[in-house]
Symmetry: C2
Subunit: 515 residues, 2 copies
């Protein structure tokens, strides 16, 4: 009956059953499984996968023997058991919020997101998808934002290889940038929103699985408005059916994160009440409580809402982009991930043409303010594909610098960093100060970042009995220079260049080991 008798803890156990196809199996059939071991009992929904096949997937949160029972109005009841075994070295379980404003895997390993975005990579040619995965494999990125529904927006107007519903697209004739807005989100479509195309979702979950194998979290965007097919303006019952279908299908993949929307405030018709209703539906339907967020465009969502596990932000000002991360963290009391702060690139749009040094500067600002960073790229090139939309090749020069930043972050002798206000930071004359996010009042691990500023020297003033070991970090050239030990008040010589940082660790303190 079961496809396999053992599965890793946090792996995906699946039961496939033949069942009835009377009526509409997507709406009329009910199937669920109950999974029990000595430490948990979980009821999980199943789903119809076409061709008479129903599936129930389960992700065991513990090791040991599990018994299960599958029931429903479309299949015959079955029972069985399997063993959840020790996870492999790369399997740390799903990521959750921990220490209130940070993330950990289920096994307790700290998770420091350094994300990127390829919105429509799952809807490209197989060759291009393979190239995207290869690029990701060689990168520092450990989270990918991408859309379930196909995307209609600048540089990406082709029809997707598959559609999520039965039916067919409207004929819009030739499509280009100049008329895309007029045809946005049509409601007079030929889709049957009550009948999914299982092949579409089978393909999509293969994408999730491939990312899982690379150790990359799949930050799945459920709704977006770059849509000529009408998927962003479905009736409420269809939205809910869709949310139930994807949670039933995808929740047993440990690397799933739910992003309700890309740019919720641009999605036509949907109100805050809709997002709240659907957010709570996600909470209810996903048995594992995967991370949930909603990404903004021009205004922030009220991220204090109960269903929001963390903030997924886009900068809302062109000039002051990420320099309030610590305020947001304080306001919402949740992890802050700035997924979009303008992408590295050279296109004409001002969300996609900052140079790498400005992107990296923003990422350092976010990190030292206790938040987490996101990346993408939009470089014009001969292939006509753009990392941010289709994936493919990474062409920018920020990725190695973000890898370096991630390494620095991983060296923190605490779960992550928090922002220390300038008046408390012991540095003279300005500089962003991030410190080990633990309970220390006088944090013994500090990183100072000077961004655009080019000081030739900086002074620090600590109590006279404190000795600090100093390093000078060139965040652009990715070098760390030992700069000696100092006591009390001291000056550090700096190279009077942009993008420099200083790391100080108190000598004699247990955290000295990080050097």
């Amino acid at each position: 009956m079961t496809d396999k008798k053992t599965v890793e803890q946090w792996g995906t156990f699946e039961i496939a059953l033949r069942g009835t196809t009377e009526g509409n199996p997507f709406t009329d059939s009910v199937i669920e499984g109950i999974f029990v071991n000595e430490r948990e009992e979980k009821k999980v929904p199943g789903f119809y996968d076409g061709e008479n096949i129903y599936r129930v997937r389960f992700m065991p949160s513990f090791q040991g023997e599990y018994d299960f029972c599958i029931t429903g109005n479309c299949v015959e009841k079955i029972t069985g058991s399997f063993t959840a075994v020790k996870p492999s070295a790369e399997n740390h379980g799903p990521v959750h919020v921990s220490d209130q404003v940070h993330f950990s895997y289920a096994d307790g390993t700290y998770y420091y997101p350094v994300g990127t975005t390829c919105y429509a990579w799952a809807h490209q040619t197989q060759e291009l998808q393979t190239q995207t995965l290869e690029s990701l494999k060689n990168s520092c990125f450990n989270k990918l934002r991408f859309c379930v529904f196909p995307k209609h927006y600048r540089y990406n107007y082709q029809e997707p290889p598959l559609y999520p519903y039965e039916g067919e697209p409207n004929d819009f004739g030739e499509i280009n940038w100049y008329n895309y807005k007029a045809m946005n989100s049509p409601k007079d479509t030929k889709w049957d929103f009550s009948r999914f195309n299982p092949e579409y979702f089978r393909h999509f979950e293969k994408c999730i699985e491939k990312l899982m194998k690379l150790g990359i979290e799949a930050d799945i965007i459920l709704m977006h408005n770059y849509d000529r097919w009408g998927f962003s303006v479905m009736p409420a019952w269809a939205d809910e059916l869709y949310y139930r279908y994807v949670t039933a299908r995808f929740s047993a993949y440990r690397n799933v994160w739910w992003s309700q929307a890309n740019e919720f405030d641009l999605v036509p018709d949907k109100t805050v009440e809709d997002w709240e209703r659907l957010g709570k539906l996600l909470m209810k339907e996903d048995p594992y409580g995967h991370l949930r967020s909603i990404h903004n465009c021009r205004v922030y969502y009220d991220n204090s809402q109960c269903w929001v596990t963390h903030c997924s932000l886009q900068r809302i000002d062109i000039y002051k982009t990420v320099e309030e991360t610590e305020v947001q963290r304080q306001t919402w009391g949740k992890p802050v991930v700035v997924d979009e702060m303008c992408y590295e690139g050279d296109i004409c749009m001002d969300w996609g043409n900052i140079p790498a040094w400005e992107l990296v500067r923003r990422c350092w600002e976010i990190t030292l303010r206790g938040g987490y960073t996101g990346h993408s790229e939009v470089f014009e090139n001969e292939t006509g594909t753009f990392w941010w939309s289709q994936g493919g090749l990474l062409r920018g020069i920020s990725e190695p610098r973000l890898r370096f930043l991630r390494q620095i972050l991983e060296e923190t002798p605490a779960h992550g960093l928090r922002f220390l206000p300038w008046k408390d930071s012991a540095v003279e004359g300005g500089g962003v100060c991030g410190v080990a996010d633990n309970a220390e009042i006088n944090p013994s691990y500090r990183i100072y970042y000077f961004g655009w500023y080019c000081p030739r020297r900086k002074s620090f003033q600590f109590p006279e009995d404190e000795t600090w070991q100093a390093q000078i970090i060139d965040t652009w050239n990715m070098t760390i220079m030992q700069a000696g030990k100092y006591t009390g008040k001291f000056w550090l010589e700096l190279p009077a260049r942009q993008y420099m940082a200083v790391r100080l660790v108190r000598v004699g303190h247990e955290k000295e080991k990080v050097f």
Copy 2:
């Protein structure tokens, strides 16, 4: 009786008379002159210049014959006449606000301020003052901010060669950066605030005159808190005596501007009521209505007050520094001069260590938003002098770029620029748009600036019957490249570098001549 019989229009006519020295001539003596020609009649105060000499200065606003009469309780009444003759080529008269948010000289010539700051240059050695003037002569700067009172602040702790009052300074022992705050603005001083030192002010007005000869406006700062002598915390009667003395002495110099304070909000004890009282005193005492402003540190002054002729701003945010210039212009309805937006340099303080490209970027932002820019420099160097404080040599690389910006501004076929909101600016995807500040609804002269952004191309969409001539401006490398003529909607290829601008002029329009 008169020192000379002819003087240029907007030149300085002076009468010197011997008079009584009974009592305290600075407080007990009253002297004033009435000057009359067919187009004006002005009553102006005189002042005591020491050694029995009283002086009355007058700046004729018109050409032709002037009669005058000097009276007072300290001199014998005299009458006389002189001729105000045609001004020399470099003499355009005093600068005033014109077209509400811009500046003109009295002869109607537009004045585009590109200012710099050497706070304490007037209190340095003669050699250093000469070097400062030579640097200014070879620069693009046409306005200089500097202080009447000596300055006590980082890098400038020496005693001034002269003092403004009779008496002597307190003995503070050795002075350095670490104890300057504690001794700031002492009230227990040995000065007689009722008796000025005329030599001090004679020297200061020589500085004003030397700037005048270089065509540089003297933006005179009356009060500041970088003070160990107590001049910033004098009693109200002493403040008023001082304001009356400097207006009587300096107002007849056409290049005088009054800046009530550097960083008014840091001056101890003074309240908004004090600044209002003193601002209105300036209005009353200066017979010529020279420009009046008050410079802020952490909060803006309410520049809508009647005595404020223009806004002299310091940026109040570290990150979003100057990108609200158009809002400030709209709010206060007056010219906006951002005199301090962080200086070019490499010192440890975050108000003095941005690289030139960031300073120049800020200046372009301000200019395209319809405001005017200010500069200074603080580079560590072997001389121990800093342009921003003592003057001396210019060491940075922003000055030629500001010269270039000033040239661009002077080519505007209107008095200056105004900001066009992005939605009205005809450019796609972002960019600051400054246009000729005239009544045109569809401005025919436009400059677009992309700052940090690196677009490889930009599209512009105008009505189909409009043809525009395009230039691509590299604001950093100071080049202007002809880029052809275009009609309706068109794309311009750009070099995908930072700090690029585009200038468009509508063809067939009378303003086409600027190319």
